[in-house]
């Protein structure tokens, strides 16, 4: 009897150690996917179950590299039949391999969630056997969480390129968000680095999901109880600096995906060198973090500030400036649009003043109904005057009267903004905080 108990204890210990080992390997392999968003879903707690995914996602912690930790982000397995050069999981890479059982992922998710460590699960996978075989298992995890555990937290599943329409449909019923990473911004780059993959396989699940969402929205209008389909939409990720594309190409691809596939987000991930393959930047070369940050800022300007991508990047300007942010850079090229009078300008033009975030724009629109605003008011509102002052006038006769050249303005701003510049160097998160 005692022996039996001891044996059971040993087994338990062993299974804990196995899970521990797998978690280390499969979290490590998943960390290069930068998407961590857990917002935008509307899944409320039902029947007194566990969890709630309404409202904004929460960052429960931050890694030492300063990225938000909001989801348990793991691969189901890092066995893979493909050999994409830019990926640690590629077949030819000599690394430890592991695979979770469906139940293990479910247990980890539930127990982490109950302790308030996470908002939910982000499950991706290497491709073992076939696309469908892999997708089926991802769907099984989500299904179990929803139906057996009554879990209402956030679930993000990776759509496996080449997976069948039926599986994608089922995935969307249980997941809040689906994503396919296109990874390489151009087809030529993809040919070079992942010769056995083709663009269509990435596009197909994306189209399916987009159509299902449209159909869901149409049906929803007629029947109130249509099951939710991927309520937080789709996203994708591109690797930056692995295959030689310029910023113009990257943002055009991004714009294309936003427009044609109704994507919620495109993520830009500075390539972290993981291989000595001579098609790629070598191990030890720096991660292009500042460039990544500039791309996020551009993405932001496109989605929230009313800019058209061609205003920022075009045939004449194929790469973003690294020393100043893209809005300032645009303003310096378009000085004829300035100065803007903050007491009369419309929202669109206010949003174009360097140093003015959307929050400040709304505060100005509100505050100026009561009185004409001067520098003091603007400072209190939180406008970054060190940049903005050259581009605006307000209720004061003190304003920049010299006829400065763009170079001169840029020089003056950079002179006075060392700390700000350092901050943007850190990484994209400073943009969202």
């Amino acid at each position: 009897m005692i022996q039996k108990i001891l044996k059971k204890k040993e087994e338990k210990e062993l299974s804990f150690q196995r899970t521990q080992e797998k978690l280390k390997i499969l979290a490590d392999a998943a960390k290069y996917d930068v998407s961590c968003s857990s917002s935008g879903s509307k899944r409320a707690n039902t029947n007194k179950g566990l969890g709630d995914a309404t409202g904004m996602g929460i960052c429960h912690s931050y890694t030492e590299d300063g990225r938000c930790v909001s989801l348990l982000k793991i691969l189901l397995t890092n066995y893979c039949i493909f050999d994409c050069a830019y990926c640690v999981t590629r077949k030819s890479n000599d690394i430890k391999r592991a695979a979770f059982k469906v139940q293990e992922v479910v247990d980890l998710t539930i127990n982490f969630y109950r302790r308030n460590y996470i908002e939910g699960l982000f499950l991706s996978s290497g491709i073992f056997k076939s696309a469908d075989y892999t997708m089926e298992r991802l769907v099984a995890v989500a299904k179990k969480l929803r139906l057996e555990e009554n879990f209402n937290g956030y679930i993000h599943l990776k759509s496996i390129p080449g997976a069948s329409d039926e599986l994608m449909r089922e995935a969307g019923l249980y997941a809040d968000r689906l994503s396919v990473n296109i990874e390489i911004p151009t087809e030529a780059g993809l040919k070079k680095l992942a010769p056995d993959k083709n663009r269509e396989d990435f596009i197909k699940p994306m189209v399916k999901v987009k159509n299902e969402i449209i159909q869901y929205k149409a049906e929803k209008k007629i029947i109130k109880t249509t099951p939710k389909f991927a309520p937080a939409g789709q996203s994708t990720q591109m690797i930056i600096g692995a295959s030689g594309e310029n910023d113009f190409q990257i943002m055009q691809t991004s714009n294309h995906f936003y427009k044609n596939y109704n994507l919620k987000r495109v993520y830009y991930s500075g390539y972290v060198p993981i291989s000595y393959d001579n098609r790629l930047p070598q191990i030890g070369s720096a991660v292009p973090m500042l460039r990544e940050n500039r791309l996020y800022q551009t993405d932001w300007l496109m989605r929230f500030y009313g800019f058209d991508v061609s205003e920022i990047l075009n045939q004449q300007h194929q790469n973003l400036d690294l020393d100043v942010d893209p809005k300032l850079s645009w303003a310096l090229r378009n000085l004829h649009e300035f100065p803007v009078d903050v007491n009369t300008a419309d929202k669109r033009m206010l949003a174009r003043i360097p140093g003015l975030g959307m929050k400040s724009v709304y505060k100005i629109l509100n505050a100026r109904r009561f009185r004409r605003l001067n520098w003091e008011h603007l400072k209190k509102i939180g406008v970054a005057l060190n940049r903005a002052q050259y581009f605006m006038v307000c209720d004061s006769n003190q304003f920049e009267k010299r006829d400065l050249t763009p170079e001169k303005i840029k020089g003056l701003i950079l002179q006075n903004s060392n700390s700000k510049y350092q901050k943007t160097l850190s990484n994209q998160l400073s943009l969202f905080s």
Partner: protein, 257 residues
């Protein structure tokens, strides 16, 4: 003229009762102070305010009719900051709101409106931090227990969030600094005071009190936290800006293993 000094019991209703008194007696020179943190003025005339729900509700209703919902929650948030002197800003804000026809809460060029907005923002930030940084640990009697020491009194603000999210587990969130907590018993949330054994260390997970599997999941979480970091992008300055050091002692991922 001698300034009146109104002393209330530290509750929001108590404060609103004091405001009622101010309007009722048309006081001009007045300070409102919490009895626990009050400072004695040299020549002031003290008056102890009795908390009366009816009066408090009347004031609150009046305030709400003058402000947007954001404006009135800002008042409540700022109150919970417990900052010395916040009551006087709140009173000034309310007076301004009653004078003005509408939208007083959007006038950031008014000093009290701005001050309250800033305080509310700090309190709101602390609320969000607590929703993020609470770490439950499973006790032997099947209750998920978390201890916190927030800068501001945010327990009243986070109750709804946790109740909605953890509807199927019993939990306690305990504010050690202020000596009270919330307990959810699968049905509703109540305010509790707890006695802890002498020398109880809130940062330690002792096997005497906590379930065996608790240790495993803490270990797994720590492993995960380490594995998900990208060493070549390390940036401790940014890390600490997001997770200030004063919060570390209750974060499972930050415990030495």
């Amino acid at each position: 003229m001698i300034a009146k000094n109104l002393i209330y019991d530290g509750t929001f209703d108590g404060f609103l009762s004091a405001v009622f008194y101010v309007f009722e007696h048309k006081l001009k020179q007045v300070r409102i102070q919490n009895e626990f943190t009050m400072q004695q003025g040299l020549f002031s005339d003290n008056e102890t305010i009795v908390t009366e729900e009816v009066k408090a509700n009347r004031v609150w209703k009046g305030v709400k009719s003058k402000l947007s919902s954001k404006g009135s929650y800002q008042l409540y948030y700022a109150f919970l900051s417990e900052q010395i002197g916040v009551e006087d800003f709140l009173l000034d804000y309310m007076r301004y709101a009653f004078e003005k026809k509408s939208n007083a809460d959007k006038d950031y060029s008014h000093p009290s409106v701005l001050k309250i907005a800033q305080l509310a923002k700090s309190v709101g930030r602390e609320k969000h931090r607590m929703e993020a940084f609470v770490r439950f640990r499973l006790t032997k009697d099947d209750i998920y227990f978390a201890s916190i020491e927030p800068d501001f009194n945010v327990l009243p603000l986070i109750e709804k969030h946790f109740k909605r999210r953890y509807a199927d587990q019993k939990w306690v969130i305990y504010d050690i600094k202020r000596g009270y907590g919330l307990f959810y018993d699968l049905d509703h949330v109540e305010i509790i005071n707890m006695d802890f054994p002498a020398g109880f260390d809130f940062t330690k997970t002792e096997s005497e009190f906590f379930a065996t599997q608790e240790f495993e999941f803490q270990k797994l979480w720590q492993d995960y936290f380490k594995a998900t970091n990208i060493e070549s992008r390390k940036n401790m300055k940014l890390h600490i800006r997001h997770v200030p050091k004063r919060y570390w002692k209750y974060l499972s991922e930050k415990q030495p293993n």
